[in-house]
Amino acid sequence: MPIRLLAPEVASQIAAGEVVERPASVVKELVENALDASAKNIQVIVQDAGRRLIEVADDGSGIPAEELPLAVERHATSKLASAADLFRVATLGFRGEALASIGSVSRLTLTSRVKEAPTGARIRVEGGRPGAVEVVGAPVGTVVRVEDLFYNVPARLKFLKQDVTERRAIDNLLARYALAYPHVRFRLTDGKTVSLQTTGDGDRRAILAALYGVEVAKEMLEVLAEEDDLVLNGYISPAALTRSNRREMTLFINGRWVADTALTQAILQAYHTLLMVGRYPLTALFLQIEPEEVDVNVHPAKAEVRFRNQDRVFSFVQRSVRRALLAYSPVPTLPQPQNLWRSVHSVPSVENNPLPGGALPAAGLDWTIGHDSRVEPEAHIGPVLATTPETVASSPFPARASLVSLPLLRLIGQIGATYLIAEGPDGLYLIDQHAAHERILFEKLMAQHAQQRIPAQSLLTPVVVTLPPAGAAVIADQLPVLSRFGFEVEPFGPNSFQIRAMPVLFGNADPAAALRALVEDFEEDETPLQTEIEARVAARVCKRLAVKAGQVLTPEEQRALLTDLENCESPRTCPHGRPTMIHLSVELLERQFGRKGAR
């Protein structure tokens, strides 16, 4: 179909708004155009996080020379003819807005050649004003060059995040499109080094490996389900492999990356009871549905869709994911303890990470410990807050507060290879060994860090680790922080690092795993505050290296864990703010056994 102007009545029906918010949105629009043009190879060059240059070159169908001026005009598209077409959009683009919008905030050069034409043609747009079409030599396909983005919109420039963040958004975006289109060859470079490259051989697991690392990719479970016109395929993480936010829940509907639909909820429901509160799976799911069944014209950036029959799609996705999940992981049969007892603190919920103790009602049982005068004060005073990584960072070593510290505990034993039971003067303590060990390591590491005495143990042979592009960018930026933590890490080719030494504290844990742990949970909007980064780095390393649930500990190890925990400044929560222990006070036990007040 040739490019033509949409009739005004059609144009007015299109969800309008900002198309170009940040460099990553430019990349998204250009890549979608290339995909719409059936490209098999898409090469993206990004310089200075997209501020200086974004170039997307494809080997798709191209644009005839005479249509170039229209391509950069608003409401000009080859993908939609009538208003009715709006209800069965099969292409990624349909508004005819992207190139015009980009052209109005940058210096844009569009070079293209169709197969039939002997030469290519080029048009330049500067600040929204298109120039004349010139004849140039060019291969079949299209190259869009966007320079000096937002040069004429200083307000936008000001609101751009740090280069790292913008670059990570682009890395992420491209990795996701690569996953969705495994038969297309993607390549992302900054003109010199390649940060993402796929083969286009259709192997999604290989792309997952590039995105999340080989180990994670190996663990991912495959989903494949079909029902009437609905097809769902892709990968989901097993219940044990989770993140603290939903950023790694990728969902494509008819080849379109959509964020935040009810379907995310459907996926989470499929994991119901398998996930800890505040944990989210990694998913890369691709849903195919009849174009008539879905309305893509609801969000200006096309990030949301609406289904004609929402319930049907919801239930299909939920069932399919659940089935894939159960095929691999058995459902735990033990009831979760937080349903029975509240944890020692009613901890205020930390950002998108609601805590079991605080979030759940006391399950109808009068077993809360709120009435316990000994514990009550601790539950509401500062110390709890002081244990979230953020605040620990600003004052990493609060004076030892007797309120948070633990009484002397007598070890009783280990249960389920996961919890320790101990007796204190004021009742019974159930201790989560992983969370407790995390806390211990964290405090030791931060203490050594504060004294600038983190000894690094050199490795016999350097370990080379390759990280997903986004993670590699983070590490590259944080090398000095890492060295202060006893990691000697050097860049070693694209996305790869060589580890020469690691902190002694971690014994003989795998150095590569330790480094990977640093970036796996990385938040996109990492705060630039140095101290916070350091606390986060520490918290993450400790999490990876702490003893796991399910690990049988010898009595000596159990006792050592308990002693170390007693010596912690904030023994009652792990560095991520989850409780390390549940306390059943003497009073509570007496009440429950009917010993008190019964006489």
């Binding site: 050594q448 005495r453 690094a456 050199s458 490795l459 000697e488």
Partner: protein
């Protein structure tokens, strides 16, 4: 099956094989020991699928047969029986083993021997023969340097290489490397190189008793297993798949200073330093000071902890080369000194950030490489 054995033999046999029992396995039969008559003797076997141990004990066999019984129950029972004849009678229909001794009679419920995973029966014709005392010392000097971290299975193993008359064992955990060689009494038919779990080697060193026949080792083709035979026992272990680090590369070819010290004095200094070092980073500093014309050399070993305090010991030394201040993980130092038998050791160093090499003085069959630590000032 109907057999009579001596309680003492049965107890010893069970203690040998029980180390391969896996009580928590999802396969119940792996928590059992196999008991089978075998050419006039009684064969006991246990396996956790990674490692299997078989042991033969003398028995009077009246009726052939086999079964498996829970290892724990059986061993606990046998250990309480008097030092006398024990008769074992199987009711094959119910797989119940009757254990009778003196006035005590016990019925243990078993699982059919058919369900027990078969252990290999290799051909020991071409076996490599290793002297038991050599083998034990090699394992003692090498296995402790293997890693316990399951994330890197290769490092949980010991590389065993046989080439002609030389056998070499090497283990590394990422921070240190132990290499020991020995000479075989007769050359091996063909070269061998395999990564054997450190645990299996230690287990074998425990089972083998000195003065016995040599240990025989075979690697049946294409099975990914190694089988060892000692006098009346066999141990089979899965080999670890993978590439062992090129350890020859790791061993420094030269040094800038060589420090000779008394093994016992250095070990004692390390043990004292460890008391203070273990609180923090396990780091000890070694300040190596050269010998002047009139002055002997010395090594000052010191550790420091924010909480506990500090320690400093000076050990006399003969220092050949430049003075140096270098830090090591004291646990690594202690562990290697504990396995060196010669009265003196040599520590070869080059720079604070270069590996240190420890060798027994007067023996050239062992060396140990330790990577240093860096302490930020």
């Amino acid at each position: 099956m109907k057999v009579t054995v001596l309680q003492e033999n049965l107890a010893r046999g069970l203690s040998i094989v029980s180390r391969a029992v896996s009580p928590r396995s999802t396969l119940p039969v792996l928590a059992n020991v196999l008991i089978a008559t075998d050419e006039g003797r009684l064969r006991l076997s246990a396996t956790n699928l990674e490692m299997g141990i078989t042991c033969w004990i003398g028995a009077k066999i009246e009726e052939e047969g086999s079964t498996t019984v829970p290892a724990r129950t059986f061993a606990d029972l046998v250990s309480t029986l008097p030092d006398a004849q024990v008769s074992l009678t199987l009711d094959p229909r119910t797989q119940t083993l009757n254990v009778r001794s003196g006035s005590s009679t016990n019925d243990i419920k078993g699982i059919d021997a058919q369900e027990f995973p078969p252990l290999p029966v290799p051909d020991f014709d071409q076996a490599i023969q290793i002297n038991v005392a050599d083998f034990k010392e090699m394992v003692h000097q090498v296995a402790f340097a293997a890693s316990t971290d399951e994330a890197r299975p290769v490092l949980m193993g010991v590389l065993v290489k046989v080439d002609g008359e030389t056998i070499t064992m090497a283990a590394a955990d990422g921070f240190r490397l132990s290499v020991r060689t020995a000479t075989l009494s007769s050359p091996a038919a063909r070269p061998v190189s395999a990564i054997i779990p450190a645990r299996a080697l230690s287990e074998l060193a425990r089972i083998a008793s000195d003065g016995d026949h040599p240990i025989q080792m075979v690697l049946p083709k294409g099975r990914g297993q190694v089988v060892f035979r000692v006098k009346d026992a066999e141990l089979v272990s899965q080999l670890i798949d993978g590439t062992f680090p090129d350890y020859e590369q790791i061993i420094p070819r030269s040094y800038k200073s060589r420090t000779l010290v008394s093994t016992a004095s250095l070990l004692k200094a390390c043990k004292q330093a460890e008391i203070f070092a273990r609180e923090g980073s396990n780091a000890v500093r070694m300040n190596i000071r050269g010998s002047g014309d009139l002055q002997p050399g010395e090594v000052e070993i010191s550790a420091h902890s924010e909480e506990t305090g500090s320690n400093e010991t000076i050990v006399d030394a003969t220092v050949d080369g430049v003075p140096l201040l270098i830090a090591f993980n004291v646990k690594f130092l202690r562990e290697v000194l504990e396995v060196i038998k010669t009265p003196h050791v040599a520590l070869e160093t080059t720079a604070p950030n270069a590996p240190g090499v420890i060798k027994p003085v007067g023996e050239d069959n062992f060396l140990h490489v330790i990577m240093p630590m860096h302490l930020s000032q």
